[in-house]
């Protein structure tokens, strides 16, 4: 507090407003990049106008740079720049891999705390300000005492030891400040995303860091959850069922994490997940840097060895290229044309400008794409599924915005699979924008949590969102349930028309309502609709088919062996008969000579495994009588 009890000018505290809706934000706290989003899932830009804020802090003299400005410091001031600190949170020094070479500030053993990692950076510490003249002078004010203030001495260079959690605190504080500056309101709570593979200790560390930064943590939400919230929030994309299997491909700068989610009417759980810190956007960077370095050497006849680089000039050149590549990658993702990469004074004072088109780019990045594809295949196999069962692919992370990755994955999946690229929601902050997806999901979740009341009843509900709550435990079905309309002369294996209602991996209790038209045949009179309820097993049939021969075309090479193509097909196998339902119809209408009516069927799946199937006719004015059967609980 300043003199006479008033606040000094420009106090940075955002005013707390009494509003019916508290201001909450979602923070995506990645290892390389972070982003913030607010309320209606809008991504917030920081003071520099960036929505993708690099997780980097750089100390230069008395200054501290945070975010993308700090990243630029990697060129000249690498030893005082800290990056990739999130993954160190909650880790002991002995647990860290030592062999990783780094271009940023090295991780050392904390000098005071045992087995604690730390960064050592050199900063200029402001020397203490000299005492004001009034303190020196006596009341008599002798002429011997000078009235001019003693000049401040030069700031002294000192070593500063920072633990990862201190670094993260500084960073999160700046994120919070950006959000408050943008919103003009005090942020009252936040949901922070964390990777699914974080253990208890790491989660506790993140929570502690956020609290130190003055953030009221509403929930630590795993990445897959955040992306699922975003993708289930809006209106459903074309061709998507509310019950679907989603593959989340999170290709960040430093790691790849894949998650297979079962989304059942907005309720989701993980079927399988994998994490690989060896595949990431940085690898693509490495390839491209090599590509451009070669081009530079070709153009200027100046040798440039990068990835790894040893010479000091080369290291600096590599850092320059790495920064410039960011822009190149964005251009490649956004437009089908060629993208340029230009660096001034790359090495020996020579400027460099190179272009790369998408094909060449994809060629360079092919190995990374293939690795992702292989990983995805591995993951699906571990969950006993196939690419055919993936209904939707969601991309997360900056590197996942590359269209080439989607093209690679599209080879495996069915054509009906929805990806943000086919849905056209990648660009311009759409639903599927990989760079902001997580933050927006976290913001939506924060809003949801903020809306839960504080009354006694709701307190229990609120607890369900806490870590380790028992409410997340649920039982799920192992077989799909659906209805079968018998047909006399059906060539289908099941002997009739199959409508799947509850897919497998649906958490109970569940309710599904479906409505459809039923054909009643040509003759009038009393009609009835009947169907059977079955449990089925889903599988995949692989057939080897010879490619269709083009007869007009002469084979160029007689010896060429005709390769067989694998054709995969989804199959359904009857597993268990559950019940039959018969409905008498009264509201049938004649259309084009055939009688038709509309039927609504409701499935109620109890927590104990009981099934209640009811069906009724949907009339124009009143609904018809309900016919229902139930299957006993397990």
């Amino acid at each position: 507090m300043a003199i006479n009890g008033t606040f000094p000018n420009g106090s940075a505290n955002a005013p707390v407003e009494a509003s019916s809706q508290p201001t909450v934000v979602g923070i995506n706290f990645g290892n390389s990049y972070a982003s913030i989003a607010e309320g209606l899932a809008e991504s917030i830009a920081n003071e520099d106008g960036e929505r993708q804020i690099a997780c980097a802090i750089s100390f230069h003299g008395e200054e501290t740079y945070i975010g993308n400005q700090a990243k630029a410091q990697l060129v000249k001031n690498a030893s005082n720049t800290i990056v990739g600190f999130r993954n160190l949170l909650g880790k002991k020094f002995s647990e860290l891999p030592k062999d990783k070479s780094t271009t940023s500030a090295p991780i050392i053993q904390h000098p005071d705390v045992p087995d604690e990692p730390a960064y050592k950076v050199q900063v200029l510490q402001a020397s203490p300000s000299p005492l004001p003249p009034s303190a020196l002078t006596t009341k008599t004010n002798t002429p011997a005492v000078s009235q001019t203030a003693t000049p401040r001495s030069e700031p002294a260079p000192v070593d500063r030891i920072l633990t990862p959690s201190e670094v993260a605190t500084i960073f999160l504080k700046s994120l919070l400040q950006s959000a408050e500056d943008f919103l003009g309101k005090k942020v009252e709570g936040a949901v922070i995303t964390v990777p699914g593979w974080f253990d208890e200790k790491q989660l506790a560390a993140v929570r502690q860091v956020a609290e130190n930064a003055g953030i009221n943590v509403l929930q630590l939400l795993e990445d897959a959850g955040a992306s699922a919230v975003t993708t289930t929030a809006g209106p459903l994309a074309d061709g998507l069922n509310p019950d679907r299997t989603q593959l989340v491909v999170d290709l960040g700068a430093s790691s790849l994490s894949l998650t297979l989610l079962s989304i059942r009417h907005g309720l989701f759980h993980i079927l399988a997940s994998s994490y690989d810190s060896n595949i990431g956007g940085d690898q693509i960077d490495d390839k491209l840097i090599k590509f451009f370095a070669k081009e530079f050497t070709k153009k200027t006849k100046t040798p440039l060895t990068v990835c790894p680089s040893t010479d000091k000039a080369d290291v600096r050149a590599e850092a320059r290229l790495r920064l410039a590549l960011e822009h190149t990658k964005r251009t490649i993702s956004a437009s089908p044309g060629a993208a340029t990469c230009s660096v001034e004074s790359l090495k020996d004072g020579l400027d460099f400008t190179g272009t790369i088109n998408r094909m060449r780019f994809d060629m360079e990045a092919r190995s990374v794409y293939s690795a992702v594809y292989a990983k995805a295949q591995e993951l699906l196999a571990s969950a006993d599924l196939d690419f055919l069962h993936v209904d939707e692919i969601v991309y997360v992370g900056g590197s996942a915005s590359l269209p080439g990755l989607d093209e690679t994955l599209a080879q495996g999946v069915q054509e009906s699979t929805v990806t943000p690229f086919t849905a056209g929601t990648v660009i311009g902050g759409g639903i599927g924008d990989p760079t902001t997806l997580l933050a927006r999901g976290a913001a939506l979740q924060a809003k949801l949590l903020a809306q839960i009341g504080h009354s006694g009843e709701d307190e229990e509900v609120r607890k369900a969102f806490e870590q380790g709550s028992t409410w997340v435990r649920a039982k799920a079905t192992t077989r799909s349930i659906g209805i079968l309309f018998p047909e006399e002369s059906s060539d289908a294996e099941l002997g009739g028309q199959w409508i799947g209602v509850i897919p497998r991996e649906t958490a109970v209790p569940a309710r599904r309502n479906i409505a459809f038209d039923v054909d009643l045949g040509e003759d009038g009179g009393p009609h009835r609709v009947g169907f059977e309820v079955w449990e089925v097993k889903e599988g995949v049939k692989v057939e080897k088919v010879k490619p269709p021969k083009d007869e007009d075309e002469e084979p160029l090479d007689e010896d060429e062996e005709e390769e067989e193509i694998e054709v995969k097909e989804k199959t359904i196998e009857k597993e268990g008969y559950l019940a039959s339902v018969v409905v008498e119809t009264k509201n049938a209408k004649k259309q084009k000579g055939r009688w038709r009516t509309r039927l609504e069927v409701q499935f109620l799946l109890g927590a104990d495994g009981s099934v209640e199937v009811s069906a009724w006719e949907v009339g124009t004015a009143v609904s018809g009588e309900k016919a229902s059967v139930s299957v006993p609980p397990l």
């Binding site: 919230v229 309720l267 369900a464 799920a476 077989r479 028309q497 309502n513 609709v529 009947g530 006993p632």
Partner: protein, 384 residues
């Protein structure tokens, strides 16, 4: 309500041979344990159902109630408090407005405040303006099919904001608000009231809105309004007293002819200014007369005045009756009448006599004058 998934499949008709099989004793395949991700509205619903032990239908009901409660709480249900500005449909005419003709536009309609008009608070105007800008800013229109340079309506919005946020300009615009202009013509006439089925009710029904409308111009607030039939004499008198001494802030600068600022001719300028001034004064005078006319009219047909007079008369009569307890008898009344008649007759006769006398006197005077003139001529003649 439960989401009903609308399917497009059409199952075939039931074969004749099919008959429902008896359900087996078998139930579902065993369930497996899964860990849900604690996120999303569906999880919240799932937990609510589990915590409170609700069935799907009970939960549906609960959600519906909650939704209604929230809707009431938030007014329009648009999240942020918009101070009751709400959303107003934009009529197609609005988009055709020409910002150059801004004097002719209805600023309240442009900002979507035609419901509130002069009642809109500055805060509400700000909210409404923000809403409109968010919707119509040229930046938002960039890339939209059609003429993306068409920012005419946006200019209109800015102009409207300009006028409505400046208290002086707003007062001038409120004075000639086009919305009320048409209403002002619509003042009930005396015959309308008297010919109505229930003139008493018609008076209040027709005049209340008129006075309410005019009240906004008063410098003194609050303004006594028409009131009701059972008002006391003091109230009614107070009402007419106030309205006859109405202090209006209404002025007509808004209708001024544009003074040609660019012109060097100061005479020209002065001429326009002078004309504007007289025009303003004329309009003001007209307006005062108009209001006075309305008040006059109201007074003339006010059933309360009649009622009060009646009551007063009755009170007077009752008083009189109270004085001469029995009151004058019939004989006395007749006598009085006779006396009055006689008096009248006498007066008449006296009048007649007086008239005759006056005639005679006049004639005598005329004769005298004649004689005098003749004598004077005779005297003159021998002299010449």
């Amino acid at each position: 309500m439960a989401d009903v998934l609308q399917l497009t499949v059409v199952p075939p008709p039931l074969p004749k041979s099919w008959s429902p099989q008896p359900p087996p004793a078998k139930s579902l395949s065993p369930l497996v344990d899964r860990k849900l991700i604690a996120a999303g509205p569906a999880y919240l619903a799932h937990v609510r159902r589990a915590v409170h032990n609700l069935s799907f239908e009970e939960h549906d009901k609960h959600v519906e109630e909650e939704r209604k409660r929230l809707q009431e709480l938030n007014g329009d249900g648009v999240g942020e408090d918009d101070l009751g500005v709400g959303e107003e449909e934009e009529s197609p005419e609005l988009s055709l407005l020409d910002p150059k003709e801004w004097k002719k536009q209805d600023h309240y309609a442009v900002l979507g405040l035609s419901r509130l008009r002069y009642r809109a608070t500055p805060a509400q105007i700000k909210v409404a303006h923000r809403k409109k800008v968010l919707k119509h800013h040229p930046d938002k229109k960039a890339g939209v099919a059609g003429d993306s340079n068409d920012d005419a309506f946006f200019k209109c919005i800015q102009k409207a904001m300009d006028v409505l946020t400046n208290p002086e300009k707003r007062r001038q615009f409120d004075s000639v608000d086009p919305h009320y202009e048409s209403l002002e013509e619509d003042v009930p006439t005396a015959t309308e009231i008297s010919k109505a089925k229930d003139p008493n009710r018609a008076f209040f029904e027709q005049f209340s809105p008129v006075f309410e409308r005019e009240a906004r111009f008063s410098r003194v607030q609050p303004v006594p309004l028409l009131g009701e039939y059972s008002d006391t004499k003091a109230q009614v008198e107070g009402f007419y007293d106030f309205w006859y001494n109405f202090d209006s802030w209404r002025s007509f600068e808004y209708l001024d002819k544009e003074v040609n600022e660019g012109s060097d001719n100061r005479d020209d300028k002065r001429y326009t200014e002078k004309k504007n001034k007289t025009e303003r004064a004329r309009r003001k005078k007209e307006d005062t007369a108009r209001l006075r006319g309305i008040v006059d009219l109201a007074l003339s047909v006010d059933p309360r005045i009649k009622r009060i007079k009646q009551e007063e008369k009755e009170a007077r009569d009752a008083k009189k009756k109270g004085k001469s307890s029995s009151g004058p008898s019939k004989a006395e009344l007749e006598e009085q009448k006779k006396r009055a008649e006689e008096e009248a007759k006498q007066k008449e006769e006296a009048d007649k006599l007086a008239k005759a006398d006056a005639k005679k006197a006049k004639a005598a005077a005329a004769n005298a004058a004649k004689k005098a003139r003749r004598a004077a001529r005779d005297q003159e003649a021998p002299a010449s």
